[in-house]
Amino acid sequence: MIKANDRSNKMAPFVPAEDDDLIICRCEEVTKGEIRKAVHEGMYTLPEVRRYLRCGMGLCQGQTCGKLVKGIIARELGVKPSQLEAATGRAPMRPTELKIMGSEKGGA
């Protein structure tokens, strides 16, 4: 994993690409271009990009787009995707109604 990380390191300037309009996070409708731009604005980790753009914060919690987002960030930073840590998975793994989560009785 990448540890010490200077956020002022020189990065190649942002160049718009033809597929920047491609929707990567379908739940929150976040595009490839938005993710690439976020990296250029200093967001180098998956938690930062997720917090900044909401990709991976929708109904599927990034189970669909997580790998794609990681790949885009890695390419922009010029590192391998395996060098980036995934964003933390959060309970519940499937959307759950308040009345079920709040029940102490076992079963809805």
Binding site: I2, K3, R7, G42, P47, A91, P92, L98, S103
Partner: protein, 376 residues
């Protein structure tokens, strides 16, 4: 030691990022060191987003009132980031006579400080927010309170500070602050050392271990706070909500999700799982029950995510902000006790003024680190 700066900031939460931003605006060369891999990974990214004056300790009211008047309304533009600031008031709800007594006391204290906050009846509450259950018999109402998005606010300050040339280094835990000729001057990390004319420690509870060897021990405890967020729902209300009982608080965000936090009463005794900050099995269910008592209509709303974070609860419930008395060159901002987000921009602005010889907009005396005394 080529790693020199005018100011070194330890911690990249909202305080670290915003102070770096305001200092850079004044022309200072600033370096921010963050132990975690991600910027703002502590309470700044884990709180419920309240930008609130009502319900606060009167000692912090002038500072937060100043921030809400002078900084929050302009943050979107200033940071070129959508911080989702919404100033539609705060309802602090009560269901029993004892609750109303608690709320009345808080309200009286705030009114004495010049805040527009008043007690209203259950019917008046439901005029403002028709979804609240009939169990609510009254509330305190502060129309100038509100909420914002803590994630984009913290990262917005980071982005803008970085744009002004602030150097941010993540994954760089500070192990020691050293004095030179009587002044705090050198910061040690596993990778090397950094020198600066001034050092600000804004590292939440971890501040304690860094300033204690220099003779300043801030009495505080780590307390876990937990939140949850629902799927997007149609727009229902825009106020920030809290309760006298502190069983839940929250708001509906711009994209429709409800963010709610709550407390089980056992926070002070949780397991210390360090940076993992795992959610506990008790908290979300308890918060759900709290929400449903006030908002029966939300029983079918689905929770998509829960999370937890450490707050730095100071011995007297308000933060330490200012110079580390007795250690020239060292400044401290910690102990925000779970309500540091709304006051964050004003606190950071004030520290930046202090560190550059300016005049902070409010009296900083209540936040002095020397205020903690033995009882006899």
């Amino acid at each position: 030691m080529e790693k020199a700066a005018d100011v070194l900031i330890i911690g990249s939460g909202i305080i670290g990022c915003a102070t770096a931003y305001y200092l850079a605006k004044k022309g200072a060369a600033v370096t921010v060191l963050e132990a975690n891999d991600s910027i703002g990974n502590g309470g700044s990214s884990r709180n419920g987003g309240g930008v609130r004056q009502s319900g606060r300790d009167p000692r912090e009211l002038p500072m937060v009132m100043w921030g809400i008047k002078n900084l929050w309304p302009y943050l979107d533009e200033e940071l070129e980031t959508n911080v989702e600031y919404t100033q539609k008031g705060n309802l602090r709800l009560g269901k029993t006579a004892a609750h109303l007594k608690t709320l009345q006391k808080l309200t009286d204290g705030a009114v004495a400080c010049g805040l527009d906050v008043r007690m209203i009846s259950g019917d008046e509450v439901r005029k403002i927010n028709p979804y609240l259950s009939n169990e609510v018999i009254g509330a305190s109402w502060c129309p100038t309170d509100g909420h914002a998005n803590p994630l984009t606010t913290t990262l917005g300050y980071f982005k803008s500070a970085r744009r002004l040339g602030v150097r941010f280094i993540t994954g760089e835990p500070v192990t020691l602050i050293k004095k030179e000729k009587g002044r705090a001057h050198v910061v040690v990390t596993p990778d090397g050392t950094f020198e600066a004319e001034q050092i600000l420690v804004a590292a939440g509870y971890e501040t304690r271990a860094l300033t204690e060897p220099l003779g300043i021990d801030i009495p505080m405890r780590k307390k876990k706070s937990e939140c949850l967020v629902t799927e997007a729902e149609p727009p229902m209300f825009e106020q920030m909500l809290g309760t006298a009982e502190a069983d839940f608080y929250g708001h509906q965000t711009k994209h429709g999700s409800f963010v709610f936090g709550g407390s089980t009463g056992l926070e002070m005794f949780g397991i210390d799982d360090g940076p993992a900050q795992r959610s506990t099995s008790l908290s979300a269910p308890c918060t759900c029950r709290g929400i449903m008592k006030y908002f029966p209509a939300l029983s079918d709303a689905k929770i998509v995510r829960t999370w937890a974070g450490w707050t730095d609860a100071s011995a007297d419930g308000i933060p330490v902000i200012g110079p580390a008395d007795g250690v020239p060159g060292l400044y401290i901002a910690c102990g925000f006790t779970g309500h540091g987000f709304g006051i964050g921009p004003a606190a950071a602005y004030s520290i930046a003024e202090l560190m550059t010889g300016g005049t902070p907009p409010v009296d900083m005396e209540p936040f002095r680190c020397t205020r903690f005394k033995a009882k006899i």
